[in-house]
């Protein structure tokens, strides 16, 4: 540490305002100010990275590979920053230092997280209304329906039309629905959590736990609503294509009927109540799909995840667990956000209803998946919190 030049240190560590009045700042003030500076810097980076990710996804010239590369770079940055923060904590602990007490600022954070999550829930409710409204339109063409849907989603998602356009053009709404509100709330919850690990505060802990549950519920709701919007959009797009094709060729007719079937498969999910029913359905579709057709293979990958999330959202952890076993036996890759969140939710629900079985089930899942950072990504992370 001796290599740090004084001018640099003075530039970055501004003396705490309170301690300016004193001739020598207390060590607690230095820690408090240092933590504040780090929280501020990492918060700015998180917001900035969120903008970078949103912009690259909107960039019409960016390829899927470009987007994946940038996501990967941002993920690595987060991991490195988290490592540096841990390193700092270890050094402070070695010096026998206690962290600052949860203060007004953290309580303000709690209020802000709550406001952000309320905004997110309001958006979700508005999206639900749009879904019902557009579903019930009968006297319009597919093109008119698509325009209405586009305008309504744009109105909810803000003036940024690109978000709605992306949703409509790429037909990709089964993602986790990471909104700016969710992202900020997660960041803040994590920051309060970090503070709590250093300085336990039962009242703040309780408030933060409530918010974590709220964040997770909004995640599950957003997933469900996005899945329904996605299905509606699939239908509208297919109807639109049919409207525009006066005399379909044989190949077009075949494709239309295939897409009709894919839509029906997704609609049938509402009748699936148990893991056994899900397995039967998946096996049946598996026998009919063309493994060289990308749309078919994507459908085959998405469908089980949709059913899994339905079980999770309906708080049926044991059915979800059975289905998870089945999915994981077929494909060991569970790095998708949806699968990670599903597993975390299954474990969280088991912990609540049957705590005695938690360890056993956690070990069982751990042994089944090929995931290097299991404890870091699943075991130690609360539901709804993504890394």
């Amino acid at each position: 540490m001796s290599e740090i030049k004084k001018p640099d240190s003075n530039e970055i560590i501004k003396p705490p305002q309170e301690s300016e009045k004193k001739s020598t700042p207390e060590i607690g003030d230095i820690v408090k100010e240092g933590e504040h500076n780090i929280t501020q810097a990492t918060g700015e980076i998180a917001n900035n990275n969120q903008n970078i990710l949103q912009n690259i996804e909107k960039n019409p010239n960016a390829t899927a590979e470009n987007i994946a590369d940038i996501k990967q770079i941002v993920a690595e940055t987060n991991q490195e920053i988290s490592g540096v923060a841990k390193e700092k904590d270890i050094k402070l602990t070695e010096l026998g230092l206690e962290q600052p007490e949860a203060n007004e600022e953290e309580n303000k954070d709690i209020t802000e997280i709550n406001n952000l999550l309320n905004q997110e829930l309001t958006k979700i409710n508005e999206l639900k209304k749009v879904l019902t409204e557009v579903k019930n339109i009968n006297n319009k063409t597919a093109k008119e329906k698509k325009i209405i849907l586009l305008e309504k989603i744009t109105a909810i998602e803000g003036t940024d039309q690109a978000i709605a356009l992306r949703r409509l053009s790429r037909k990709e709404t089964t993602s986790e629905g990471l909104s700016a509100e969710r992202s900020k709330a997660t960041q803040k919850i994590n920051s309060v959590d970090r503070l709590l690990t250093k300085q336990p505060d039962s009242s703040l802990q309780e408030k933060n736990n409530v918010l974590k549950d709220k964040l997770n519920e909004s995640f599950l709701e957003k997933y469900q609503i996005n899945a329904e919007l996605d299905l509606l959009l699939k239908k509208i797009n297919l109807d639109l294509e049919k409207e525009q094709t006066n005399t379909p060729t044989e190949n077009e007719s075949k494709r239309f009927s295939k897409e009709d079937q894919r839509i029906k498969d997704i609609e049938d999910i509402q009748n699936i109540e148990t893991a056994d029913m899900a397995k039967e359905k998946i096996d049946k579709i598996m026998n009919t799909i063309d493994k060289n057709n990308t749309l078919d293979t994507t459908h085959m990958k998405e469908l089980p995840q949709r059913i899994l999330m339905k079980f999770v959202a309906n708080k049926k952890p044991m059915e979800a667990l059975k289905l998870f076993d089945y999915i994981i036996n077929k494909d060991k890759n569970i790095t998708s956000v949806i699968m990670v969140e599903a597993v975390k939710n299954i474990l969280d629900q088991i912990k609540k209803i049957n705590p005695d079985r938690y360890d056993m089930i956690n070990d069982r899942i751990k042994s089944k998946i090929e995931f290097d950072n299991y404890d870091d990504m699943i075991g130690n992370l609360p539901v709804g919190i993504t890394k």
Binding site: M1, S2, I4, D8, S9, I12, I13, T24, P25, I27, I30, V31, E33, G34, N37, I38, A41, T42, I45, N48, N49, I52, N59, N61, A62, T63, N66, D69, I70, I73, V74, E76, T77, E80, I81, V84, A85, E87, K88, K91, L92, L95, L97
Partner: protein
């Protein structure tokens, strides 16, 4: 005793300063990597435009 306390404060300040520097460096490195990708995207667009101009000639 005073000296020890002063030293401790100095070390704590340095720990925080170093942490912030490291975080800044990580962010700078990240931005450089992302810039490279963005330049690549721009370049491929310029190439496309150039090709279409050539095709028009």
């Amino acid at each position: 005793m005073n000296n020890t306390a002063q030293n401790k404060k100095k070390i704590v300040k340095e720990i925080y300063a170093l942490t912030l520097l490291k975080i800044k460096k990580i962010k700078n490195d990240q931005d450089k990597k992302i810039d490279k990708i963005l330049k690549k995207i721009d370049k491929s667009q310029i190439d496309k435009i150039r090709n279409s101009i050539n095709n028009l000639k």
